[in-house]
């Protein structure tokens, strides 16, 4: 399969692993963060970390859009879903994220009309098919899904679909990276940059990482060889004393991003002053809301949204996992009270969450180590 097989070639993988081994200084410990949940998933699925020398550590970043949604936001969504006459739509994994009084899936079981959609355009279609119902789309995700929501809202406005609205929980990638870099308990040597977010924003927004923080970043694809090559490129930068943004994923990512996507996002959204991230707290200018021009489609203005802040469960250490301070298996409830079937924390919900990825793939390797 083109674009896939050649990036999973075991022979090339071994060559890259040998090059990485040759590039590391034996006495030095390297800590790289893969920003994106898609990378975390691939790393565990293909055992990429097994190919790395022991002194190269991968830290999982905050780039899983489900994992960063705070409990209060889930509660707000459920409150809207329970309003009479509402059809509430969201992406599949979002339905399993626990709020303080249960998940959307549980609210659905209790009678709320909550439906899974693959794309916001599906939600708009449901609205057109049910003109006597209010259809709300719960929008989550980074800059990869924000254009899709923006286009849908443009369509809804142009076509005049009065019963459609959007509860916007979109977030942007740069502010949490800056927050992580400012965090004193995390010392990183470099970043594997998010691939698909960069198809939209380009690689340029990451220039602050080498410029302001002196760390290299390599935007990477999601196949195992992409990730290995990105690590090889970061090591080469460190070795040669360079510090810059490099683009390993140039077959998909233009350095300047997708201008049309950025324009439609700028038209439909504006930055919130603050947005709460699970485990990371409030980060200024990190979340998106609907702009003035689209206020009529804003579910938060159309419905009464409680907006109550809910603290994460004490036992759950998603925050530390999202910041890369602890590994998934170091959380007290990992694999016992918290599993993909009954998640306590968001990182166990989405297949791109570090805990779920590790639970599904990585724990077997660790069991081998322990034995």
């Amino acid at each position: 399969m083109r674009y896939v097989d050649e990036f999973r070639d075991p022979e090339l993988g071994r060559v890259l692993a040998t090059e990485i081994l040759a590039a590391v200084e034996p006495g030095r410990h390297y800590k790289f963060m893969e920003v994106c949940g898609g990378h975390t998933h691939s790393i565990y699925k293909y055992g990429v970390d097994d190919l790395l020398p022991a002194n190269v550590e991968l830290v999982h970043g905050p780039g899983c859009p489900v994992c960063v949604i705070p409990m209060g936001r889930v509660d707000d969504g459920i409150a809207v879903a329970r309003e009479p006459g509402v059809i509430f739509t969201c992406f599949g994994d979002m339905m399993r994220v626990p709020g303080s009084k249960g998940s959307m899936l549980e609210a659905k079981a209790e009678g709320a009309d909550i439906r899974m959609v693959y794309s916001p355009l599906d939600a708009l279609r449901i609205a057109k098919q049910n003109p006597d119902r209010q259809v709300v789309f719960f929008a989550i995700g980074f800059e990869t899904t924000a254009p899709s929501t923006a286009l849908t809202l443009k369509r809804a406005k142009a076509e005049g679909v009065p019963n459609f609205s959007c509860m916007c929980s979109h977030v942007t990638i740069v502010p949490p990276l800056r927050a992580l870099l400012d965090s004193p308990d995390l010392r990183l040597d470099g970043f594997v940059g998010p691939g698909h977010v960069s198809t939209v924003v380009g690689a340029r927004p990451f220039e602050f990482i080498p410029a302001d923080y002196g760390k290299p970043i390599v935007v990477a694809g999601f196949e195992p060889l992409d990730i290995l090559q990105a690590i090889r490129m970061i090591l080469a930068q460190l070795d040669e004393g360079r510090c810059e943004v490099e683009n390993q994923y140039s077959r998909v990512v233009p350095y300047e991003g997708n201008q049309r996507a950025l324009e439609v996002m700028a038209e439909v959204f504006e930055l919130r002053p603050h947005f709460e991230w699970r485990g990371l707290g409030f980060i200024s200018q990190s979340g998106l809301k609907l702009s003035e021009a689209y206020a009529e489609l804003d579910a938060e203005l159309r419905f009464s949204v409680p907006g109550v802040r809910v603290a994460d469960p004490k036992a759950c250490q998603c925050g530390e996992v999202l910041k890369g301070v602890i590994k998934p298996w170091e959380c007290k409830v990992f694999g016992t009270a918290c599993t993909p079937e009954r998640p306590i924390g968001t990182c166990m919900v989405s297949s791109e969450g570090a805990c779920a990825a590790y639970y599904n793939y990585g724990r077997f390797a660790r069991e081998r180590e322990v034995v």
Partner: protein, 70 residues
């Protein structure tokens, strides 16, 4: 529900896109019929890219975000 219900792809629109080939284009509505590697077809929004039938695109949440270079 299995978090991996869609094979390799997380059904949440996390940072994973699906490479697809454009088969037919409805230029008025800026929609395209696209086929994935496994042969499954779906309608994709192509407002954000310039593509022609036969081109390959990266699709995310029903929207083509980038053209894959040949």
């Amino acid at each position: 529900m299995n978090a991996n219900a869609c094979g390799d792809h997380c059904i949440t629109c996390s940072d994973e896109g699906i490479p697809m080939r454009v088969e037919r284009i409805d230029d008025v509505r800026r929609l395209a019929l696209c086929a994935a590697e496994d042969g499954s077809r779906s309608t994709v929004e192509i407002e954000l890219v310039d593509v022609a039938p036969g081109d390959r695109v990266l699709v995310h949440a029903g929207v083509a975000l980038a053209e894959l270079s040949a």
